[in-house]
Symmetry: C2
Subunit: 187 residues, 2 copies
DNA sequence: ATTTTAATTCGACGCTTGTCAAATCAAAAA
DNA sequence: TTTTTGATTTGACAAGCGTCGAATTAAAAT
């Protein structure tokens, strides 16, 4: 698999391009293929420095080298420069998953508000309230119809303010109430 | 003028994108807009660190922030990600000129081989020979016809090996010789 | 064989950057 | 008003990176 197709490879490519000296080198070579000494003279840098930059640009595939007599002549690989930023930045799910514990925030909120299975406090912030109520609604079976009394009994396990919980579940559209009968919504 | 249109601006943009953590942030936000705390929990980094990265991404315009209650919710500015690498890398002549002394290599070669107006040695390498001969051929007027004797007199000012110089000028196609008459080529 | 020339490698130096803890801010909740 | 909560700033530390001089290598000219 091509290096520039995974997370680190993509970061490398963009990092290699993210330096003003290397952008200049790239443009000078784009005008016409050139060798290291020439670039060193033009940019007023030492050959060692130029070599360092050329190595980076070659490693990520935007430059290709070809021997000519003494010289190592570099030219631009247009193919590598075709994709848009969008194309390059877009990571596959496999690249994101190992680095990001996507539900970490959710779990953190749950840990904060549930102690020993009970809700210590009903979150004021909507985002957090939503997360907590989604957790609670799991106690209701889909499809099944509940009376308000049955609902209250279940909710009482979580918090004494069952009215607030009921209101939340309805307004967040996690449950419906028609004529006093409650039902869990499953989308 | 937009910042991302000059050398340093372009380098900044690419540098901002050239880091694996920031690529992950960008992808997480692309799935859906998110706020700092959430990203910190997901990526297992401290809020201060996330803030640092978000600032960089916002400064170069790939993220936009919007307040929502407590939160500062970030979303991706697709517009900024449209251009291809090629588009971004391409610098204007005004950006290149101040940094690159484009004729520096040429001048360096001339300085090396000319001492007090005379050619100390005829360069063996074609590239350098070419540069030196282009300098010498300037002594001939365009259009005008020269006999070999006239050519020799001029060349003698530069180097005793006038035969080699004549040969070089012809083979490098800087002059023509037809029936013993020499003429400078101007393209 | 010796010398020249371009390129590369290595080690060193200083500047930049990523990360965090602690302090501070700003906005909303209690 | 006082507390809570998310965001930012500051300072510190370590890791990374750009630059150079010196030594080395590779190829070609003398």
């Amino acid at each position: 698999m091509n290096k520039s197709e995974n997370l680190e490879g993509k970061a490398e490519l963009l990092k290699a391009l993210g330096h003003s000296t290397r952008l200049l080198i790239l443009n000078l070579i784009r005008m016409k293929p050139r060798h290291g000494e020439e670039l060193a003279a033009i940019l007023n840098l030492k050959p060692a420095t130029i070599s360092h930059h050329l190595t980076k640009l070659t490693n990520v595939g935007v430059l290709v080298a070809e021997k000519d007599q003494y010289y190592q002549v570099f030219s631009v690989n247009q193919h590598a420069l075709k994709p848009s930023l969008s194309d390059i930045i877009h990571l596959s799910q496999q690249d994101i998953m190992p680095n990001a514990e996507v539900d970490a925030y959710r779990e953190k909120v749950v840990k904060t508000f549930f102690k020993l299975g009970r809700l210590t406090k009903i979150p004021a912030q909507l985002k957090k309230q939503r997360i907590v109520l989604e957790k609670i609604v799991e106690e209701f079976e889909p499809e099944r119809e509940y009376t308000e009394r049955e609902v209250n009994i279940i909710l009482l396990d979580f918090n004494d303010d069952v009215a607030a919980l009921r209101r939340g579940l309805i307004s967040q559209k996690l449950m419906t109430r028609v004529k006093g009968i409650y039902q869990r919504i499953t989308e």
